[in-house]
Symmetry: C3
Subunit: 348 residues, 3 copies
Amino acid sequence: MSRRKSYKLAEITGRFGGELKGDPDIRVSQVATLEAAGPADIVFISQVRYLGQLSQTKAGAVILGADAPAASGIARIVCANPYAYFARVSTLFNPTAATIAGVHKSAVVDKSSRVDKTAGIGPVAVIGKRVRIGKRVQVGAGCYVGDDAVIDDDSMLHSNVAVYHACRIGKRCIVHAGAVIGSDGFGNAREDGVWKKIPQIGGVAIGDDVEIGANTTIDRGTLDDTVIEEGVKLDNQIQIAHNVKIGAHTAIAACVGIAGSATIGRNCTLGGAAMIYGHITIADNISISAGTLVMKSLAQPGTYTGVYPFSTHQRWLKNAAQLRNLDDLAERVRELEARLGKDKGNPE
Amino acid sequence: MSRRKSYKLAEITGRFGGELKGDPDIRVSQVATLEAAGPADIVFISQVRYLGQLSQTKAGAVILGADAPAASGIARIVCANPYAYFARVSTLFNPTAATIAGVHKSAVVDKSSRVDKTAGIGPVAVIGKRVRIGKRVQVGAGCYVGDDAVIDDDSMLHSNVAVYHACRIGKRCIVHAGAVIGSDGFGNAREDGVWKKIPQIGGVAIGDDVEIGANTTIDRGTLDDTVIEEGVKLDNQIQIAHNVKIGAHTAIAACVGIAGSATIGRNCTLGGAAMIYGHITIADNISISAGTLVMKSLAQPGTYTGVYPFSTHQRWLKNAAQLRNLDDLAERVRELEARLGKDKGNPE
Amino acid sequence: MSRRKSYKLAEITGRFGGELKGDPDIRVSQVATLEAAGPADIVFISQVRYLGQLSQTKAGAVILGADAPAASGIARIVCANPYAYFARVSTLFNPTAATIAGVHKSAVVDKSSRVDKTAGIGPVAVIGKRVRIGKRVQVGAGCYVGDDAVIDDDSMLHSNVAVYHACRIGKRCIVHAGAVIGSDGFGNAREDGVWKKIPQIGGVAIGDDVEIGANTTIDRGTLDDTVIEEGVKLDNQIQIAHNVKIGAHTAIAACVGIAGSATIGRNCTLGGAAMIYGHITIADNISISAGTLVMKSLAQPGTYTGVYPFSTHQRWLKNAAQLRNLDDLAERVRELEARLGKDKGNPE
């Protein structure tokens, strides 16, 4: 691989702002952890409690917050949001590889489809009929894009992604390997002891700047579309059922499941393995903790949690046994209160 | 796409029964939601509480239950099971596309395999040795079907499905993208601090009319087959371990995990993210609620639940702290009872 | 398929040890369950409670533990660890198929990559630039191996596996269909209401003798590698986030999620659907029960559990209602104690 480009600290603050303290001519070319950094690396510290580790690092410079005391002689960039600043610097040092334009000779593209000449279609990818592939789109090896689908400009599908017919992916999206977009929703009507399939005739509409993790699945709508608005970030192995709507800039951690026809607001965060019931509405600006099952609609912003607190197995056995009889225990307390006279106050 | 075929309401009740109230010559050509429907659409209402919305819809007709009052001037079909009726109407309006027979030139099919001449093998699909592909089967782009596997008549594999060697899929099955059927069960014996792999020499036997969701995984049996009986419906991202048996017409929602050698009865429903321990038996006609972990066998029909009730995070912190000491709290109640004399009755 | 090779019991104990009781010339050629076994099969019993079933089996021989009484006339091999012994016998009877060397003509291999001549690259597999594929490696149909990746000797990728650029897989690993190795970690910094992506420039390093289940996902590190040490066994649909480290010989059941930067020790076991918070450390020799969410670091070996005990739905409704008010209940008990005088002892 080619030699990495380096930048003076003064060039970095010139691009991204922040206050530079130290030698402006120091050159850095990569981001690193405090432990692994060398003189050509820049590190970042997002929390004051990690400041103590600065004295050990061999990094050439550090990005830190305005509240951080001048704890070390290392050159530093002081800014309001070190993590976001680090994101910018890392993106500068590690730009996305340019799309290699053209259709690989092993790819299968129906001639009714329009693939922009700046787009790249990888080996053994399959593009159905009447598909539109936008500018600089990259379709990875082994992807399948069904009939009438749209992949808009600057989006990237990693390998082995499946996009079913008539689904639409916005601009600048990233879809990781194994993700499935547009599979049939789980709609079955029971009659005479047998399940009859409900055709799923809606699609999936994904906004701009959405990232979709590896092996995540998003079902198509029963009648209308399943909708993922702009800026939503989805981690790996998330399941989004039919007719779900997820508001803009919501971030969802891995292993979350959202059942059919649920609506999630804007700017929400869902922790890993959270589960959302069907047909409920979560308002904007709500955080659901990891592992929490939400069974009813939530209208008030805030953080919601419902997790069994773990312990040693022995202790769990005892507490869980009591939990199985908690209603009885509450009744016994009520009886004690009644016998003592609830409102008598402390008799002593 | 071609112009959609329309049907008179009288034609629909002629095919599917139900009582028609209103103009029998009204023509409809698609199903829709109440909100999105236009005059050429038919809608359905499964619950009386949605009846109020009927006054706003622009739909040409509505399917509803016998108990629904005549709440609007809209033409209607009255029937016993509106959801199942809707399924039939939607299937009439949205028939499955006919299989395009033939092997795509980019597919790789071993010459020892028998592919029915009415079957379609999609682009870059791979069919191993001695495979049997039945009539009108459709194998999607990028699928892999291992040696000695069988895909019976009228089944469909969407794109990128993996069927390992010697697995058998029945008639009229639908398998969604990314599903894996027949991967090795998780069998390891520990010896001298190291795990030794147990060969997984059973297969997977899937009955007729089974639907399998996107990225669902079904492991092959250790010695005998893992068995999914006819009419079972599996949603996305379900994990079914080795030696599991699932009884006919059971429906399982997304993200469920079923551990090794568990047996699930007929006509069961498992809610999303339910988890079933290994080596237990769930009898017929049992419902497991979403998010519930079932640790022991269940013999009695009914609904079973075990979910931590969520709340605001602040409230959770307080309650969870008490739950960690619930056994102590119960002991304190026992002490209070002893001091008051448990059977003395109310002292007041 | 060819006729199966058979072995005398004396040959088996000659290879693997154990004490043979019965006719040493009995020949067996396959392992089986007690129910399905015939005279040419050998079965095993790992727990004394299954011994009663021995009287019904038609098996030719049985493997059992030293503590098992001589309960039946069947020929038997007595050994210290029947399950591990069975693993060896089954591996003898069911050897892994030899790799078919060579690159399938439909595979796409960049000419800068080195594929050992004893390795097999399956149909429509795609190998990027500067990849190294070791001896006797088998890359399944439809796999994708990104630039600069390494698959070391004797490893096997089943079909449709995705290995991103610069990831390394050790020797004798098995990766099941649909697994994704090296997808981007879920790193986003929030600024001005929008998520900015953090480039994920680390890789994934997988040690020797690791097995990875179907549709499992392992994210690449943000800066350094995500690390899976030797002998780790991962079941299906596991999610391993960026920067995680899993110690040697740890076994993880299906549907587990491990959040970013968590460290799991050696010789641990994680039950199905267990969830591990980010940035915590689980020491060596710890067992986490199925369905348990671990929110903080654990230093002491032992078994840890946190699962809501399920019950009938009606009973759950009552107990869960009390759990929502558990802190209040505890307060009421404190009040009762205060009124009675906590240290007064039993008044009777």
